[in-house]
């Protein structure tokens, strides 16, 4: 059993009903992450994108999450209140299936870092610039149990044990050591 620890959970709450589709979040995100800071902007580099289809009343601000090397086995498509959303619209991954969340020139993946800064920003920039309040920021502390860190081999063995059972592993190890 590990110790109890507190961690800060940073959440951007997205109220899609309040989104006016202006994309100010994309502008300021890409400007903040430019080098030097604010020296340029380019929504194609933004780590937040608004999936926007005004004639169908679709407004979904999506944040860049983890990079994934391969796409999912299938795709999803949501229909909510009669509105059909793009394939994978709510997914945050920088994924081979789409051009979202990749540097336009190098193709390198982009990921939202909650505007880590020194001194720290009060709120991520996209939230600061969304004065229609579609994006709001919440921070809370959460108690988590710190897990005892396992070694790499142990993780691997545990997976094998789950699959084949511990006895079979021990047999195999014994057999392998006899061969030597």
């Amino acid at each position: 059993m590990g110790e109890k620890k507190t961690k800060i959970v940073k959440t951007i709450k997205i109220d899609a009903d309040l989104c006016n589709g202006c994309r100010a979040c994309e502008v300021i995100c890409s400007a903040f992450h430019a080098t030097p800071k604010y020296s340029s902007n380019n929504p194609a580099r933004s780590r937040i994108r608004v999936i926007r289809d005004p004639l169908r009343d679709v407004y979904v601000p999506v944040y860049a999450g983890e990079y994934t090397a391969s796409e999912c086995m299938g795709r999803d498509k949501y229909v909510i209140d009669g509105k059909e959303y793009d394939e994978c619209a709510f997914c945050r991954a920088s994924c081979p299936s789409r051009d979202l969340f990749k540097e336009p020139d190098s193709g390198l993946p982009l990921k939202c870092d909650m505007c880590e800064d020194d001194p720290p920003q009060e709120e991520p920039l996209c939230v600061q610039w969304c004065i229609t309040d579609a994006l709001t920021y919440e921070e809370r502390e959460e108690e988590v149990e710190e897990e005892v860190e396992q070694e790499e081999m142990e993780i691997g063995l545990e997976a094998l044990a789950d699959k084949f059972g511990l006895d079979k592993i021990m047999d195999t190890v014994a057999r392998m050591s006899m061969k030597d």
Binding site: C22, A24, K37, N42, A44
Partner: protein
């Protein structure tokens, strides 16, 4: 390195199908800023006055403003410039939306079309790859429909598309260019686009826009955002609802239309319905609005929600903004539901929401008065609303009487004759105006209507309150935090302005004050149009976040051009004068500078003459409205005066021809 701008234009020769990427001269940016300013320079240099609007020699320029694509809030406008088929003068119509920033991200400041395509085409700009593509399959398609079809066939949902509908293809003199929630609709820019055979321009860009001084620039942007928040929380007291806040008038969020419906004119800008608004109508219109409207929406990088998505029963969804909410309703003496329905159709056809309803009401007035007869309207339904739908259809197809009406009230009246001219009573410089008919002459508005070359009052007015506050204490409260004034004297002008008595219209504001006020208001609009800023955050509303004091800093930090208030004033004056020069060269004179005869009931010819004389002088124009050699020289526009002298518009020695000779020339 170029800052804020990309430094490149696209030159498209439609006749030969040639595309070139041309680097621009940074000195022009310094002199004319960008957007409207540099558009005017190009039109002056390349479109001589002999060129007809529908000639291949006419240019059609789509320009992003200088600061479009930077983080400056609300800076998203496309300035479309050409020669207008309706006024035969320079047209500069503008649109917000998402197109201009996308063009900048693709790496261009302007797209300049010349020539004519032999068949209907569209332009596809995808960063460095630019193609002219066949559009024959899009012929006759609606403007909004076209945008969707193009996005689909390119598989580029993020492409921004500006397109014309059937009206543009058929060269209706008040055809618009539509782009999602926005349109460039005044002065027939859509007709020129159709004449050139361009159905649409689709653009997609994924490049950076740089600013010169990042930290300074972003701080300015943050101040603007903070002030917008402040203004949203602190509406201005004592003025009507739509003037309290920022943005273009919040027509999509406003239910109470008592003021518009009882003060603006109905039908062909003639009938005032003083007791129109009542509880029943208020309830009915509110229900219409709530049942058809889905969401309030914005342009690129702007928190103001001036537009809305509207879905009339049984019709496709479209996006509407501002006063087109009421123009069809009031022209047809109908209700809001009808207004929303026909406006959706009109937008697909791509026609101007101000001129179109008025042209139709004008036609029906001619019919009622026997100037047009049943023979002119074969098959027209007998019900009022049905007639408007029928007329709209004839106009955009140029069928029968529609072919005449398609040229607007002025030209239609000329063609119809039989006294029809009397009915085309609401135009300035041949272009239909808002249906306003008032009692007492307002000297400030007299000047704006007379001398405005954007030919739309909403593109000239702003900043200075439209009417005085009754009580001095309220006026004092108003001026207290009025830091936007370029000079303290404007506060005094307002403090002393009374609704009645000696210090009231038409003799107060005095002639000199009126000239100052108009000059300030106009200057702010011209700056907006060069930077690509929406007037809804700058020149139009009271106490806006952008003003004469922070604009120079925005230009310095954004574009890296050293700027102060004097230099900016001078630059704005330079290209404002150039716009006038283009029109003067095309024949515009003092005689053209007048509001509709019936705009005010009480007129004051002597005062009006003095107003115009004094304003011309302030602007550096002679008594015929022509910029003098001296003032042109001061603005570095000697090339204009040389041209004027060569054409006999100005004389070589004293700068201007004597009045006699000028009248002589006019008579020819």
């Amino acid at each position: 390195m170029r800052y804020a701008e990309t430094g490149f234009n696209l030159e498209i020769d439609l006749t030969r199908g040639n595309i070139e990427r041309v680097e621009t001269d940074p000195r022009d940016t310094e002199l004319y800023l960008g957007g409207l300013g540099t558009n005017a320079k190009i039109l002056w240099d390349r479109v001589p006055p002999e060129v007809e609007p529908f000639s291949p020699e006419n240019l059609l320029i789509f320009s992003a403003g200088l600061l479009c694509g930077t983080p400056a809030t609300g800076c998203n406008r496309t300035i479309v410039s050409t020669i207008s088929p309706q006024t035969e003068l320079m047209a500069f119509s503008m649109m917000g939306g998402f197109w201009a920033p996308e063009l900048k991200y693709a790496g261009y400041d302007k797209v300049i079309f010349r020539g004519k395509s032999p068949n209907l085409v569209y332009l596809w700009i995808n960063n460095d790859k630019v193609e002219i593509r066949d559009a024959s399959h899009l012929q006759g398609k609606g403007a909004i429909e076209t945008a969707e079809l193009i996005q689909d066939e390119l598989n580029e949902p993020k492409a921004q598309v500006a397109a014309i509908g059937l009206a543009g293809e058929n060269r209706i003199y008040y055809a618009s260019i539509e782009q999602g929630r926005s349109s460039a609709s005044r002065l027939g820019v859509g007709a020129v686009m159709g004449d050139k055979g361009i159905k649409a321009i689709a653009v997609r860009g994924t490049k950076d826009i740089n600013v010169a001084e990042p930290a300074e620039f972003i701080e300015l942007c943050n101040e603007v955002l903070e002030y917008i928040k402040f203004r949203n929380e602190n509406p201005i007291p004592g003025v009507m609802t739509i003037l309290k806040g920022l943005g273009s008038p919040q027509e999509m969020a406003t239910h109470d239309e008592k003021w518009h419906t009882e003060n603006f004119m109905w039908g062909n800008a003639r009938v005032r319905r003083r007791d129109f608004w009542n509880e029943e109508i208020a309830k009915e219109w509110k229900e219409t609005m709530e049942s058809m409207q889905t969401r309030l929406i914005s342009c690129y990088n702007c928190p103001m929600k001036c537009g809305a998505t509207i879905t009339p029963t049984g019709q496709p969804t479209y996006m509407m903004k501002c006063f087109s909410k009421l123009t069809y309703t009031m022209a047809a003496m109908s209700d809001l539901e009808f207004g929303f329905k026909i406006a959706g159709l009109a937008q697909e056809y791509g026609v101007d929401g101000y001129s179109t309803p008025q042209v139709m009401a004008f036609a029906l007035e001619l019919y009622e008065n026997g100037i047009l007869t049943d023979d002119d309207f074969p098959g027209m339904p007998s019900d009022n609303e049905g007639r408007f739908y029928w007329l709209l259809d004839r106009i955009v197809r140029r069928e029968g009487i529609g072919d005449v009406l398609a040229n607007g009230t002025y030209w239609a009246a000329q063609q119809i004759g039989k006294g029809a001219e009397e009915y085309a009573h609401n135009t300035i410089k041949k272009h239909e105006q808002l249906p306003l008919k008032l009692s007492m002459l307002n000297p400030v508005y007299f000047l704006m209507y007379s001398t405005g070359e954007k030919i739309n009052i909403t593109q000239i007015e702003g900043q200075f309150p439209q009417a005085p506050y009754p009580k001095r204490e309220h006026r004092e409260a108003f001026v207290k935090d009025w830091f936007q004034v370029p000079d303290e004297k404007f506060k005094q002008y307002f403090l002393d302005w009374e609704p009645r008595g000696e210090n009231s219209n038409p003799y107060y504001p005095t002639v000199q004050m009126s000239c100052d006020i108009v000059d300030w208001q106009e200057r702010m609009h011209y700056i907006d149009d060069a930077l690509g800023m929406c007037s809804g955050l700058s020149s139009f509303p009271l106490k806006p976040p952008y003003h004469m004091h922070n604009y120079p800093k925005f230009i310095s930090a954004g574009a890296g051009i050293e700027m102060d208030e004097d230099k900016l004033t001078q630059a704005a004056k330079r290209y404002r004068t150039l716009v006038r020069a283009i029109n003067i060269r095309r024949g515009m004179r003092r005689k053209d500078e007048k509001p509709p005869e019936d705009h005010w009931k009480k007129r004051f010819p002597e005062l009006e003459k003095e107003l115009l004389d004094t304003y011309y002088k302030l602007k550096g124009w002679n008594n015929d409205g022509i910029p003098t050699k001296e003032s042109l020289h001061e603005l570095g526009l000697d090339y204009v005066s040389e041209d004027f002298v060569e054409r006999g518009i100005l004389s070589d020695d004293e700068g201007t021809l004597s009045e006699e000779t000028s009248t002589e020339t006019e008579k020819k």
